[in-house]
Subunit: 318 residues, 2 copies
């Protein structure tokens, strides 16, 4: 078992021993249900690794990681209502298995419980962790609202889009590793560098998700090729295509035949080299992440675990 | 201007100067909209009075009161979605003026902002306030879920009902006065006595609301007489009626003629003296609240402001 798997096992064991307890069942069962659906547990991993990098007390790292996972799952429960999503990880979403009021309320209670855990936290840097977490929580709400607003707008610029995905996805990754490091008594400079590392990593991953949805081998991704195109999702590719040639873009997206539409759009985007530009942007973020790692190492921190994590996370994208 | 009005003015001025600021507008405008709809500002009043009773720094009292009002309004935004309510205080609810996703998300962000305010609080007893607030927030969620569960259950006992209304309504009143007092450097014993006082006061008010809906003079209450009966709402009166004679209860509620239904049920409840029993229970809570006040006074605290508040709040019920 490699280190990443071991950390995942440790977290899942912690989770089993720390399920939510309370009454009524209709409030607490949905909370435990969503937490049990699994996943890679990227946020707890980041906190645990942040803590270990600076030789912190591992108990504090896992505890902080759990808070990040609770917050992440709160946001999933509410996002699934907003997105009218029926399933998550092959199981019904909370509002489908129960109902919308129950999903709203159990989500609310998860946010309260994330704070309850924070307030009962006994390790180092409690105030800094509370502040970082709270700033992040508001940014995640702002990112989700921007995402919804963008769906009905035709004037979204690329910077706003990148800002939105940073808030919606990357900041919680940054918060997870930073707070994990702070729980290990990390100094401010290194904890901020770790934060920036995770932001850059998160941006690269999010953009790669978009890239692979359109240009990836659907046998490997397990998704329908061009799913984002068919949904008219405002990805980096979509928005750039719109900005470069609004008329051509509109014409291609007006095609009502789904199969010719996807292929024509992919061919056009390859012709205008959007695929290469997207890969270049991903590469830029990856380079920034590596620069962050180098600076962290200069502070005497061994970043091997982060490299392992990057490799582990990249596997899904091959 | 009496003291209560002055405190209300102070709070409304504080609110005007402390509106939420942030982007996107679709997230922050709904937050400021719900806060601006007004009301008696009972929770800020309780915090400000709790603070003044112990001669605290009034700035801390109003700050804590604002946090309670933000939390209260968060719960209103989400409850209105769950209850499918179209209007509040004569204005459209947030999910009607905007939409449900926006209402979910701006509610979430209000809960985050309540914590942000708490984290930035610089007065006395920060930890105790954070703990009291967080315990209360979870209880409010539990109370709301119980309320929803009870609507589809036929076996709700009276104690569970009282526990539900305590969580749904009274605990935030208790939290408001207790945290206000703590912000004035109040000792634990008196702050707990103030908490109990507000719980008993809140229970009496909630039960009086139910009583007046059925037995009050609708010219004064401004509500349709028997609104709860027509909705089949599981009030203290409904549940007791059901427990005393399930068959008779069912027969009366099966009447499809609304006007004879309301009158027949009221006559029956008067005959079996449910009206008197309800008033007796309210009186019991009021007596308990007054005992709390006496004990608070024995600790050298002048409770005149609380008496003023009680008189002010009672006016609506005459």
């Amino acid at each position: 078992m490699n280190t990443i798997e071991k950390l995942q096992n440790d977290y899942n064991q912690f989770l089993n021993q720390n399920s939510f307890k309370g009454s009524p069942d209709n409030l607490y069962n949905p909370m435990n249900y969503i937490m049990s659906l699994g996943g890679k547990r990227v946020r707890p991993l980041l906190s645990m690794i942040g803590n270990q990098l600076v030789n912190g007390d591992a108990q504090h790292g896992i505890y902080i990681g759990h808070i990040m996972e609770v917050f992440h799952n709160f946001s999933l429960v509410h996002d699934d209502i907003m997105d009218k999503a029926d399933s998550r990880r092959g199981k019904p979403t909370v509002h489908k298995k129960w109902d919308e009021p129950t999903a709203i309320l159990s989500g609310d209670n998860m946010l309260v419980k994330a704070y309850e855990l924070l307030i009962n936290y006994t390790g180092p840097n409690k105030d800094a962790i509370l502040k970082t977490f709270t700033k992040t929580a508001a940014e995640v709400c702002e990112g989700q609202q921007n995402d919804m607003d963008f769906e009905s707008r035709n004037d979204v610029d690329i910077d706003s889009y990148l800002h939105m995905i940073q808030n919606k996805t990357a900041v919680l990754l940054g918060c997870s590793i930073k707070c994990g490091a702070l729980s290990g008594n990390c100094n401010e400079q290194t904890s901020n560098e770790l934060y920036d590392f995770a932001i850059n990593m998160g941006m690269a991953f999010q953009l790669m998700d978009d890239y692979l949805d359109t240009f990836g081998n659907s046998d490997n991704t397990g998704k329908i090729k061009g799913g984002d195109i068919l949904q008219g999702k405002k990805t980096w590719l979509f928005l750039n295509s719109q900005h470069i040639d609004q008329e051509k873009h509109q014409e291609l997206f007006n095609d009502e035949n789904n199969s010719t539409k996807v292929n024509a759009i992919i061919a056009h985007w390859q012709k205008i080299e959007l695929d290469k530009q997207c890969l270049q942007l991903i590469e830029d973020y990856n380079k920034k992440a590596h620069s962050n790692l180098e600076r962290i190492e200069k502070n005497g921190v061994d970043t091997e675990l982060l490299i392992e994590l990057l490799n582990y996370l990249s596997e899904r994208q091959n």
